[in-house]
Symmetry: C5
């Protein structure tokens, strides 16, 4: 994972996938078109028009789109540059919102992100996915099936729905990371290897990257929640307030996970020094037992002429017994000290 | 304890326990009903109506409740989702407040929480407990017995009373955690085991979770204290200001306990390295005493033909004496260095 | 010291000590009464009335006091609950201020606090001490002796005087703690024992408790300093501004002492690992000197038949000389490495 | 690198390089002059006048410049003092902006900076480079080639372009530092030498210096973005908002790199203590294997007369076999403990 | 250095040194008087009157001064109490500013401070130095010599000049500290002694004390810079803005130095544990070489009757050769592991 953000990377070739969805309380139409020129919609307040672009590969399309809906060139740049932070920008005739969708890859332990661009106008929502996304599919199904109150609400409620599924996705990602942490935690006390330390730091960085996106997201949702926002009806405001609550909870979960990882570093270093302690204890025990014994053996290995013990018949077995006694005493001593 | 917050978990089956309490200065009535349909109350300013729902298990009940009292669907969602942070939300015809009640389990050393939902309207308070709670029982007794000024006050004072008992409960939880910390502290210097480190981190996380709920609580109480709040009479404001003070003191206690746990980590690592020091000292003493002695024994174990000492009658006892002298000197040296 | 704050502890039995002081530029009267019923004062702007209650033991007295001066029941609760943080609360007819007076016990190294309650009305100051306090005595003497400008000022200046002596007392407490720190610092490098670590943490906690009271105090003084405060005349404002300065200096001193204690932890751990280093050096020196020597002795302890050195007359003394040489060389080597 | 900022260092001698560029939608003129006296331009709103001074060596020139364009003496001081933080200052007839351009020297691992001063007036931009800079050349080319919309915009857009290329340069610098960090990271686990620690600290300091410039830069761009800024047209505002976004991303990248370096310190200390662990294991293994063996040898080196084993024919080979057995057992034991 | 700030210390005896300077564009007069009674000046807007008091030893003088210029008693207290933080206080007829001048003593490595009090009135500046200061002398010379624009500006510009030289002095102090740090840094890797740690902590504390004065100074300058300040003319505002910039740079330099000292602590602990590593390596090498050798010697020191090797003529030299081989192999092994 590279951390320095890269400049605009324009994707060429290929083609966008454009779906136009129009709906009101009793009306639903979904049309897929391949070229932006064929797009022919009338925007009015009596229905919601949702233009979904799900696979952005073509710069030209956006040029035409920009012309049709009077979108500022900078917004087009931001859409094509998939390296944005979540943000909200108000323009004269629309509000532009950038969201990030995250995925946690369990094998490489890395977070990847996809950008979701949302343009909210009067009775109009344009959504541009970096890659076709399942969560947007789900919302489309939801609208098609006329579930909840979506069909009787305005385009701002559709925006709410899309943001809601994106933020719900964060909880799933965080749970996957939490599972990963649980696995590490088990290994931590049993085998505190340097590679484990590496894994802890890696997860810490993923969470850091993740949390870097959450703070601006909070601002985005906070802006939408505040009343007086253009294109957002007062009766939708409580929903954004609810979303704001979710965002706060995501942030708190991230902070808790970060605190756990921090604690794990503590435990790691503690486990390492415990191991050292074990090694040192072993060395000390060995030395404490055998040094006195070797010393006794050394004494009776001296070549003095007048060493009466050497002549005794019981000298040797007695010495061996004393050595045994010393050894056993030492072992009992270490047992009582709970070294063994 | 899982730290990533989970999405709405709707409890099905079972039945709610509904109690309707109506009171004014000279009047008190308490009726228990089993079905919301049988609820038949007239809300007016001449008395306080308290609807207590104490065991939420039934989704439908809330649907009917919402209809009767014009409660926003999002509030119903929040009530059923027992994973809320403390918060206050103003709606057109009521103010919705979420509180958490905590319990510290001494055997598992874990905090658990129960949600208390409060809906304050004009002359009306609806309280919804996740589980029937003793502290709410106490408040009911208090009202029944007409203690203090509660019977001559409005519904906002009842809200104050409920919040007061909940916040007083926090002090009890914190004292239990403090007792736990005291136990750990005693063990810390005597036996700094890795499991102790684990316990310290566990308590740290419980406190972190706890404190995560205190900051939004402060905001909730702060909002109620500020004048200009609907449904809160000016003469009740000083009581909420008092509550605010209590909240601040809870937060300060949490911070102090967190600081103590942090210090305990310091002490833990210090105790571990002290133990290492002890081990090393022992090794060094053993080596320092026996290495020179073994060396002397080694000298007189050499097989040179011309070693006059070996022929002396006093050679052996003299050597032993010298060894004894060296040993004793060493021990005295270590005594003076306070190693023993 | 328990850190979780306890709930109201009502002291029963006993009796309050009430002194009524009335003064203006040319007038001074001091009357001690035993029962609040006998209190008979007329409050007017032509003189200052100071009611000093210096030993609160009686709940009833306050009930009567509250009635006489229309004091809110919550204020009475706060006075009786001696576990308040410094705070200022404005009521319709008076401003209520809580201060803490600290004492540092040199033998137990613990801070204890006493509460001082001040009620400022129009031409009236009621002071309630938890325990009779010398600093309040001093202010009384000051007024009696008509020192400074106090007799020509209003009740707000008397409030200033009382606050000033209390805050001056903080500097004395901090100096005592600083002396304690100096003592610890001397011991730190000479004898870094675990009990020293314990003492550092203890002082850290005392300072933490202390500083927890300073931040709200700053707010209290800041509120009084701001113009537009009821019962505070514009010409007294500069005095409160001066007090605010003192408070800031107290806070800075606390922070500096905390930083010093933090540094001392560094030094402690450094001193511990230095000691370990010393131990390791000793072990290494002993092993490095005696292992080669013992090896040489071992060689000539071998029983090979054809070892010509053993037959030489000079074999033994030469070997001893070589051993001596090796030993001395080693010692010189360690001297040059500055291990000895 | 010295970190205390130095006072004004006035460069004497030499000569400034002055280029005057005038352009509008259909018009472009570029004139190089050597002396400020020869400068003869008419500033009006129908075209943009860009005075580029690209090598400031002459104090006098600025005196004359100041006179011509009514520039405040303090601005002149700031231009000559190349030790400024990024800042924006509004004067009556112009806005003065200081930017820093950074270069990372891969061999010395040091950041150096060059100052770019920009004076924005009505239809006028004066740019003063500390040293002739390529990025400014590029902007000049861009204007000459009439790329993008620059020729149809006002002087504020030219300011935007210059700031944009400067900020884009930051990403390049950060990538170079990131490459450096990657190199260090590889070395970290293989060879944790003190010189590596030194390198980590060095990079940390470079990033600190860098980030110290980013926060005021954010303020500068934020000021320009806010509407109501003189000399900045409303249609240019979105471009500055875009620039603000870039600045935030630079800051986030810096913070991420700083977090990585912090983690590396962790890893470094972990690697050092791992090495120590390895050393200790080796010592313990050697001692554990050879101490018992030497002890056995010591036993049969004793000179007791009655040691029956010594007389056995199989005594010696059996003893050797037992020793071998012990040695092999120990080695297997350490293998199982994964020490080898 | 004592860190708890002390209360007012009134210096008695001695005499103040008073100089009265009056100047306008074409007029300059300097008079030294010994007693405040002899002071006889007329303050008007046509000229600047600077009263310089440079050695405050006499309490009475200030009483008279206060009377003459209507200075508030609290200001007099602040002047006599040389333990102030930098601050600005507005009174009805003047603005009172406290600055600190620092000196770094290279031998004791301690910062000391002197207080400079400034009272700015309408056409009047009173400066009171704790001790006669060279930097104030320099400003006087500057005015006398009519350098720069000082003679054509008002008293606020004189204030600016005095503050400018004081703040410039901070850079010099910081450079001296930086030199000190450089010296420590060199010693750090070569000889990480506990006394070095002590020095690092000492410098850290000096910087802490220093920085504690910089934050309020920033406020002081920030207040002066803001327009709408009495006694400060709009055309002087840019000069105070420039001063504000300098203050920010001082603060940043302090922070950088603090970061460097923090890093040095890292390096210190790393160097200590590196030393330990060295010691351990030495011990391990010695043990690893001599333990196997001694074991071999031990084997051939055994007294078995049937040890054929002992009878061989080549037994002894072969054993010695094997020992040599083992020793050399070990040394080569450690060389390859880069321990030697």
């Amino acid at each position: 994972m590279r951390f320095v953000l890269h400049l605009i990377e324009i994707k060429k070739g290929g083609r966008c996938l454009i779906t136009v969805i129009e709906y009101s309380r009793d009306f639903f139409r979904e049309v897929s078109i391949e070229e932006i020129d064929k797009l022919d919609v009338v925007i009015n307040k009596s229905k919601v028009t949702w233009i979904r672009i799900s696979d952005l590969k073509d710069r030209e399309t956006f040029g035409k789109l920009a012309e049709k809906f009077k979108i500022h060139p900078l917004t087009i740049e931001d859409i094509l540059n998939v390296d944005q932070r979540p943000k909200i920008e108000e323009f004269q005739n629309y509000t532009y919102i950038v969201l990030k969708m995250f995925k946690f890859d369990k094998s490489s332990k890395e977070l990847s992100s996809r950008q979701l661009n949302l343009i909210l106008g009067d009775g109009l929502l344009i959504s541009i996915e970096e890659e076709k996304s399942k969560v947007v599919d789900n919302v489309l199904e939801w609208v098609k099936a006329s579930r909840g109150i979506v069909r009787s609400m305005d385009a701002d409620y559709l925006l709410y729905l899309l943001m809601d599924v994106v933020i719900d996705g964060y909880f799933i990602v965080l749970e996957e990371i939490e599972d990963e942490i649980d696995v590490l935690e088990d290994e931590l006390t049993s085998n505190p290897s340097p590679s484990l330390l590496h894994m802890i730091h890696k997860l810490k960085r993923q969470l850091l990257q993740f949390s870097k996106n959450m703070w601006p997201l909070r601002e985005v949702v906070g802006t939408l929640e505040r009343s007086g926002q253009r294109f957002v009806n007062p009766q939708t405001t409580p929903y954004f307030r609810d979303l704001y609550d979710h965002t706060i909870r995501v942030i708190e979960s991230v902070e808790t996970l970060q605190a756990i990882l921090s604690d794990m570093l503590d435990v790691y270093f503690s486990a390492v020094s415990n191991k050292m302690n074990e090694v040192m204890k072993m060395l000390t025990m060995i030395a404490t037992i055998f040094m006195p014994l070797s010393f006794i053996a050394g004494i009776y290995g001296m070549n003095f002429e007048y060493m009466p013990e050497l002549k005794w018949v019981w000298g040797y077995p007695l010495t061996l017994s004393i050595m045994l006694l010393i050894g056993v005493t030492m072992i009992l001593y270490f047992k009582r000290k709970k070294w063994i």
